[in-house]
Symmetry: C2
Subunit: 306 residues, 2 copies
């Protein structure tokens, strides 16, 4: 079968690979669409040429798990693969799959797993959100756009911050009460800060966090060491800071149920993963480059030839 | 009556002040000994001349609280005052007092409140300690020495780190399994880091913290902005960082019960607040200077003339 593999220098292209060999409890999924994440670019740059890629897939179960768990053969599903999802077929643990209703397109489903679960787990760490104020930095990207919607759906007042004005397009419609740029004044105390930017944006956002506030970081796009103001603690007593690493969380969270929650919100019209770019997987370079250059206001998805 | 008041420039001296005027629920305590904290030096440097000082007191209840709560008149007590405890008499909420048995000297009791409660609340945030590894930086100071003992009493393996070799004297006897200097290699994963130093010591200690570890900061003696390594999050997924501010905690913790816990540990021989310097309050300068210069391996206590 065909799969996207790294070609060195951080890029990827289709190549011939072996068929998946499902372990006990794994289903084989025929992939119809695969979501691209910034994490794919990061690992592609560090892996040797010929390495497999891909976590986000939507498709149809070709062979159910041998233990009878999970969706049956023929079911449309969304799933979180183990870095081998950019392929015609992939074996995925049944517990990392959720059914995809006919009303939800493959491309929408494929945009959900990494971005949706990251936003969901980050907000879950923050706990109670109804009536609280949530500040989301990096709000223009794939995770940020989902986080804005999930926080709003949980009853929070959402303040969105982006790097350039165009990155904020559509965020108000997704539920952000205020949209601005890094450095813009935040006049109200923030109960929860979701940060994926790091650097000066995080340092500045920190000064807006209220006593006992919760800061969850899930990225560091500036690639700078963490730095907080001199009086970081005394000025913000009780604030906790935590880094969320998705693939640590997925080891202990009910991934399948959480994917089903995200799919359910999509069917209710309360969540749109914002697929902003769709491209055939035979030529992934345009999506790859656009994502790297932060030109995708949402998610980029690869369509597999059917 | 007489009380220590600031004289400008960060120092303090006895002066005449008015008698305490207890609010409902407050007892009047005749102070026999008063513990000195680095926080006293910090606020003395920022307050106008003539300001009152002092949180840690031990003495005798002269007048019980009007609502009948707390210890009766004549009882020996330890208490957390509201920055007016360096005085012959002070009004303290009954809920901020605990009985002091005859076996515990005034000077020992007076050393407990701020240092003991800070260490107790910092460790309480860390949660379960039995069988875990706790790293304490600034272990040579007043809070650090109590934290080492409380963590050991809770079943933890304690690694103590100090700035100079002499600061570590006695820490092994207090329960530290390993005593070293900042920068010394820490070969084992650390479940809980208690930091009061900040700067490079915190940045280095961070790299020893295990996945899902808990970092509680309760001071920043280096007076540097917080800085963590570039991959602070990805290398240490799930780690939480929290700043503990004692006077935020005392608003929501059962201070009197917690003081009684600390006193109980003292009477059981499991906690020694390490009174390293005792001086008459009529001449506080030697204690003041020694604490400022980090020459007190433990607590400095002022004795009031009786």
């Amino acid at each position: 079968m065909r799969a996207l593999v790294t070609t060195g220098g951080g890029d990827a292209a289709p190549a011939d690979v072996g068929e998946p060999d499902p372990a006990p409890g794994e289903a084989v999924v025929a992939v119809h669409a695969a979501g691209l994440n910034r994490g794919d670019l990061t690992v592609a740059a560090s892996l040797p040429a010929g390495s497999r890629l891909g976590w986000d897939v939507a498709g149809v179960v070709e062979r159910a798990a041998d233990d009878g768990s999970g969706p049956p053969a023929g079911a449309r599903v969304v799933g979180l693969a183990g870095r081998d999802g950019f392929a015609e077929r992939v074996a995925i643990p049944a517990g990392h799959l959720a059914a995809l209703p006919d009303t939800v397109p493959d491309t929408t489903g494929a945009a959900l797993p990494v971005a949706g679960l990251t936003a969901l787990y980050a907000l879950r760490h923050a706990g109670w959100l109804l009536g609280r104020t949530v500040l989301v930095t990096g709000a223009g990207g794939g995770v940020g756009r989902v986080a804005v919607q999930l926080a709003a759906a949980a009853g929070a007042r959402v303040i969105a911050r982006v790097g350039t004005a165009g990155r904020g397009d559509g965020l108000a419609k997704l539920g952000a009460a205020a949209v601005g740029l890094y450095g813009d004044t935040i006049a109200e105390p923030v109960d929860v800060l979701l940060d994926s930017v790091g650097g000066a944006a995080l340092e500045q956002a920190w000064t807006s966090v209220a006593e006992d506030g919760v800061v969850v970081s899930y990225g560091n796009t500036t690639r700078e060491p963490l730095r907080l103001p001199l009086d970081w603690g005394r000025l913000r007593p009780g604030v906790s800071l935590r880094y969320l690493h998705l693939f640590q969380e997925t080891r202990r969270q009910p991934v399948g149920r959480d994917l089903a929650t995200l799919v359910g919100l999509v069917t209710q019209g309360r969540l749109d993963p914002q697929v902003a770019l769709t491209t055939p997987w035979s030529d992934p370079a345009p999506a790859w480059d656009a994502l790297r250059d932060r030109k995708v206001n949402g998610k980029a998805v690869l369509r597999l030839a059917l």
